[in-house]
Symmetry: C2
Subunit: 518 residues, 2 copies
């Protein structure tokens, strides 16, 4: 990366998108950059805590994180920031500059609206809730976790009330994760998916076709799986001088355009799951690495929210990593590491990676169809919880009934039911819908990329990912947070955000797999 | 560590050393804690940069470090801190509380004297300088690194000027690392060592005695060496739930009382060097871990400067790890990992670990005698650099001439000469003398421990390190920064800081080894 640009604080360059803006704008931007740098420091501390830190380090790490949060809050909500925003909003700004100001205004308003004391209480309660959730899950005992959920719901309702007392509190919480798609849009998409996917799932359940479900039926040494994951990242073009792969309990990705790391995990009986997770996190990291180097710290060098982030991970995970073309390319590498797989065909691997489970209770193990029923269920439950229409004590029953209704299966216990996800212990109500929005957006973006790129599928089957990578960088990554979500999708695809492409994609894919006319 | 205490921000406990102090004191201490937490966040970022970060991450990391430095500076030098210091200094305080205020005052004065913008520039320049030093060392090209040294010298001179325009700038910089021993004390010790060690080194060079120099004459697989290092840390009592061992170019230790990590490096031809480095860093980490948990973030839970820190690493490295008693205990473990060493005796290993090299160019590979000549050389060169009496471009020549003068050898290139140490890339001019002060202090502390602990040498030869560990914890670690350096030494040993014990120790040790009457 010899030509890579350094982050610039000076904006002296006339080529800079910030050139020509008033002094107040530069002052504002400098302050914002400091907040980003502090935020990214906290993200590194968190990566370390999950990947490297010895367990005894927790008390000190909590203090460090809380000091960092507190100075970020202080810096972002300083009176001067409000004054500078007022001043620059009446100035003559370019589109880039106006976008920068819009983003800073939004973050400032949300952060300034909430009293520091409440932020601290939420942080404290989530710290307390995490080990309780872990324990409750281990004991499969929702009642044990329920008081924490109760408390966090109350605090998050209060939080939403501070931000906008007139709005639906769930919509306010959702906007923390996806600021520029209305909850109505999310609702429309989720409703449509429920309506259209359930018949497809039913048809598949009734189909006679048997996929190569047991294709990966051996024990797969995690250390060798890690070699496979590294080879996959190599093939996909992950730049090791700007990232790393490590193991953690929950796979995640974190970092900035200079250093975007991924983690994954390996189970001896499921090498496809680890590979999918790795490719998923690669998608996140490649988005982060595609942000403009010279805009590090500004909204133009920051991601556009969690739906878009998830669209990038899902695109690589599903449209690339779960395709037959991918397996045509990658299976020989897998077989080199695991000779027991030597008789598999790419079609076998493709089928094994895409079987629709009719008995899977766990969201993160779900296929691309039933996955969204897991999300719909959570979305409905947490909405009712936030609105006070559902007692926390009743969550297990409602959860199990809905699983029955949407997927025809019923968890035996809370551990494989309503206690399976970490999100509520973080107080992250409103986060789940971004997973589905990301999948839907991925399909729309991938369809547009297919239109623009000559023989994309052939390229994937030959391991040529550069054109796709370049397309995504140019149409998504390079814009940072310049456009609002829907506008970004429109710029990239020529159309408003829509679920059409996702539904077309799954109809075609699963129609072929199960020999059905969907 | 079931009984470990959490860091306490409340000081509500009447047992707390802060109980009964005026409100202003608590306010001051809370502010200081935040600064420590931010500082420790920066230390983690720095550990990551040296151990984990992909090399492309530097530009973003520099920004993060600089933002952290800047908020630390802002928090520590806030007007309110000055006002609170004025207020509490006239209050009735306990000895502990007075020590806390003394330490905060000292840091406040130094920090307030230096403009934030300069602090930020230094932080950014040191972040940038590190990869340049690495590259320059790889290419053995001082010229490549020289502009960075030039810049850092200028910035550090400016820094010293702000703190005390009337003082010797080198003395001002030295006080950053050792605030409570005057540079004159350091100078006296270094001069005495040069005078008294040179004749000893000469006598050894002329001695006919041949030590078992080639005892470790095989190739030692670095991965197996790492197993040996882990076993050594186990034996010494390193608590893995509060630390980790990793590899880095330059061994170091970092962290806090909850999480103190060590790094080391392994060369296939020198397993003793890696083991010594590991034990050295263990000494640092064990000091850090011995600080009071409930005082995390306060001066009572912080170390007493670099000389004392180094006394702990040197005590374990030299007085334990280079003793014949250690090898009586540890050699069998080493031999288990490296069967080629099966014929070695503890005496052989002891001799090999203590040979006085007459051809060693590398400070960190030096024996306990010539080591201090390496320090004297650096001390003289960096003093001249800071005073402007030596051009940066001339460093290689002066370095090589002094090596010739003091040790009778001349580096062939810069990599094994003036580019060998990382310190100047950190802008750490004035740091080196603390290494010698630490060795000297280690000998004094060890002599006192020997007086207090029954059969200490026997215990070491049986792998019983607990009494020594407890003695150091009780007499050094638990006091944090309560006492000034000399006072701490006096409390622990009953005497003022002196080089007598160090000189007695080396005379006895090397007299026996080389059969000389020193």
């Amino acid at each position: 990366m010899a030509t890579e640009q350094q982050p610039s604080d000076a904006d002296a360059d006339s080529e800079s998108p910030h050139a020509g803006a008033p002094d107040a704008y530069h002052d504002l931007l400098d302050r914002y950059r400091q907040v980003t740098y502090l935020n990214d420091s906290g993200m590194l501390l968190s990566w370390d805590q999950q990947v490297m830190m010895p367990e005894g380090g927790t008390p000190a790490r909590s203090k460090q994180q809380s000091a960092l949060s507190s100075v970020q809050h202080e810096k972002l909500t300083a009176d001067a920031v409000g004054d500078l925003l007022d001043e620059v909003e009446s100035a003559d700004l370019t589109a880039d500059q106006a976008a920068v100001v819009r983003e800073i205004r939004r973050e400032y308003e949300r952060e300034a609206a909430v009293p520091g004391e409440l932020v601290e209480r939420i942080s404290e309660e989530t710290s307390n809730a995490l080990p309780v959730w872990e324990q409750a899950r281990e004991e499969s005992d929702w009642e044990r976790f329920a008081p924490q959920v109760e408390t966090l719901l109350e605090l998050k309702r209060e939080y939403a009330e501070h931000i906008d007392p007139d709005a639906d509190p769930y919509a306010v919480l959702f906007a923390d994760y996806e600021p520029y798609l209305d909850l109505e849009v999310a609702d429309r998409v989720l409703t449509r998916l429920r309506e259209e996917l359930v018949p497809i799932i039913d048809a598949i359940a009734e189909s006679d076709v048997t996929l190569a479900e047991d294709a990966f039926d051996d024990e797969y040494d995690p250390d060798i799986q890690e070699d496979v994951a590294r080879d996959a990242l190599d093939e996909l073009g992950y730049p090791w001088d700007h990232g790393r792969l490590d193991r953690s309990t929950h796979p995640f990705s974190t970092g900035n355009q200079f250093d975007a790391r991924v983690t994954t995990r390996f189970a001896p009986d499921d090498p496809v799951d680890a590979l999918s997770s790795t490719i998923h996190e690669f998608g996140h990291a490649t988005y982060t690495l595609g942000l403009r180097d010279d805009e590090y710290g500004t909204p133009l060098g920051s991601h556009r929210g969690l739906s878009v982030h998830e669209s990038q991970s899902r695109l690589w995970e599903n449209h690339v990593g779960r395709s037959e073309h991918w397996w045509e390319h990658f299976l020989p590498t897998f077989q080199e590491h695991f000779p027991s797989a030597e008789d598999l065909s790419p079609r076998d691997a493709f089928e094994a990676a895409n079987q629709v489970y009719d008995d899977n209770l766990i969201r993160v193990e779900a296929d691309e169809l039933t996955y969204h029923m897991h999300i719909v269920l959570r979305y409905e439950i947490e909405q009712d919880l936030v609105h006070g229409d559902l007692d926390v004590a009743d969550v297990p029953d409602v959860w199990n009934d809905k699983m029955d209704e949407y997927l025809g299966i019923r968890p035996d216990d809370d551990a494989t039911g309503c206690l399976q996800d970490i999100h509520w212990s973080h107080g992250s109500f409103g986060y789940f819908p971004t997973y589905t929005l990301g999948s839907v957006m991925a399909a729309q973006l991938y369809a547009a990329a297919e239109d623009d790129i000559d023989d994309l599928e052939g390229k994937i089957s030959r391991g040529e990912f550069e054109d796709l990578h370049d397309w995504l960088t140019e149409n998504v990554h390079r814009h940072g947070a310049k456009y609002e979500t829907n506008e970004l999708v429109k710029q990239a695809t020529g159309e408003e955000f829509t679920a059409d492409y996702f539904l077309d994609y799954v109809r075609e894919k699963y129609g072929k797999l199960y020999d059905l006319d969907l």
